[in-house]
């Protein structure tokens, strides 16, 4: 039977915290950009202009039918290429984190867009009609009346999606980015303690995600009472 030895964990904590910062940086960037871009895509998708709504639907369907790993590989290829072409810079050694942030932002935007679209559709049509009858333009009515109510309804879903995003950032492993999990595996390989380090990393992910999803559930129940 294998003897578990956790002595590698403590001295490696600062190193893994550096990795966790990368994980959080990618998560928060992809969340902010993803929700902003997702809102735009959702509004385009609901627009009466067939070309715009078709374009938005195509964006969402494309990203939703490709594995995240492929998206990450694509962007680790394209982003350095674009940087070279756009700024005429020599190929930089480390744009991996940047490519991953771009990839996650664009990928998550497709998923957020679907949640936001459902959220907008959950607001009663009369709200838009009433706002426009009061003399608001479509843009004003969307921004001041519909979206605030939509976001209130869909916040729990957006947060749940963000928890999934936090877990998925571990896949930057394929783009040679040293995130929290990457750091843990490096320590594990170095010390010959890969079993313990994987289990430790899994435990940390579990605690963070379980705590956050319990909070979301609690909040969701409170929203229900308020409604």
């Amino acid at each position: 039977m294998y003897e578990l030895d956790w002595s590698s964990v403590r001295p490696a904590l600062p190193f893994m915290w550096e990795g966790m910062k990368v994980t959080l940086k990618i998560t928060l960037t992809a969340m902010s950009v993803g929700i902003a871009l997702g809102t735009v895509i959702a509004i385009l998708r609901l627009s009466k202009n067939g070309a715009l709504s078709g374009l938005a639907a195509g964006y969402v369907n494309l990203f939703r039918s490709v594995p995240l790993i492929m998206v990450l590989l694509w962007f680790s290829l394209i982003v350095p290429d674009l940087i070279v072409r756009a700024f005429n810079l020599p190929r930089m050694a480390n744009v991996n984190v940047t490519s991953s942030m771009v990839a996650f932002s664009l990928f998550q935007a497709a998923y957020y867009a679907e949640i936001i679209r459902a959220g907008i559709q959950s607001v009663k049509a009369g709200q838009m009609g009433a706002a426009q009858a009061l003399g608001m333009t479509y843009g004003q009515a969307m921004r001041l009346v519909v979206l605030p109510q939509a976001f209130r309804n869909m916040t729990p879903l957006l947060l749940t999606q963000t928890i999934i995003l936090f877990q998925d950032t571990s896949l930057v492993y394929v783009a040679q980015v040293r995130d929290f999990f990457g750091a843990a595996t490096i320590v594990g390989t170095r010390d010959g303690r890969i079993v313990e380090m994987i289990l430790f990393a899994g435990g940390v992910y579990f605690l963070v995600c379980f705590a956050l999803s319990s909070l979301v559930k609690y909040w969701q129940d409170r929203l229900k009472v308020g409604a």
């Binding site: 039918s65 490709v66 594995p67 590989l73 290829l77 079993v195 899994g202 995600c209 999803s213």
Partner: protein, 247 residues
């Protein structure tokens, strides 16, 4: 960057392949992705259904076991779960079994780990769908079954589950699509499925855009096939009177 593509690269013979072309490599990867997805789907559907039923039965211990399962498998990243199945579990089982397992064909070990990982990961999602399906039925159905003298097991087998499964086909379809996409994670432990084959093509041909485009298109095609198949099944199994079932 797309202007100087050369698609003929796929018809060039691959090295050490007895006349096989790079296109054959791609299809080998595709075949492995399909096999992996199908094997995992069997585990996910069976295990997820059992756990989903346990989430609804009036027994605290069974309910507790299934709840712990769902929470653990939903709150640990897929990649970490795969590494646990591949690197950790063979070490933690008794040494005799572990050593014998580690002497097996490495590809077989990768396949087993990836299948178990994807099966139990997807099972946790299916478990929640099955539970939601059962809970969406009117409470009277269960009561009526029991009042007619059916045992709890018979009520589930003949009344609740046949209805629940017909209702949850659409969410099951999207879980199946997710499973195919998630199977790309197996490339991280060296299994040469479709995504890994894309990287290998890149290494051998230095044709990055062509390789990744081919792989991406194949994933989209597989997903379209799965969705078309499930839509057909959904139309067959639709329950009149439920959403979209007003026949």
């Amino acid at each position: 960057m797309f202007a100087d593509m050369n698609w003929r690269v796929f018809f060039e013979p691959a090295p050490a392949g007895g006349g096989a072309t790079y296109l054959d490599w791609l299809f080998q990867g595709l075949k492995l992705t399909v096999e992996l997805s199908m094997a995992s789907w069997v585990i996910a559907l069976l295990w997820g259904s059992v756990m989903g039923v346990l989430r609804t039965v009036p027994n605290k211990i069974l309910y507790g076991i299934s709840t712990v399962y769902v929470e653990v498998f939903r709150n640990v990243p897929l990649l970490v779960q795969l590494f646990i199945w591949y690197f950790v579990i063979p070490e933690l089982v008794p040494a005799g079994i572990g050593n014998r397992y580690k002497q097996l064909d490495p590809v077989f070990q990768q396949f087993v780990a990836a299948t178990a990982c994807l099966g139990f990961f997807t099972g946790a999602r299916i478990c929640e769908q099955v539970r939601a399906g059962i809970e969406s039925l009117a409470g009277g159905q269960k009561a009526a079954g029991l009042a007619l003298g059916l045992s709890l097991r018979q009520t589930y087998n003949h009344v609740l589950l046949p209805m629940a499964f017909r209702i949850i086909i659409p969410p099951l379809a999207s879980e199946m699509v997710n499973l195919v996409k998630n199977s790309a994670v197996a490339s991280t432990i060296g299994l040469l499925e479709l995504a890994a084959m894309g990287r290998q093509l890149l290494d051998y041909t230095a044709r990055a855009y062509e390789s990744f485009t081919a792989v991406t298109v194949l994933y989209i095609l597989v997903n379209l096939v799965v969705l078309g198949f499930m839509r057909w099944g959904e139309a067959k199994a639709r329950v009149p009177g439920f959403i979209g079932g007003g026949r």
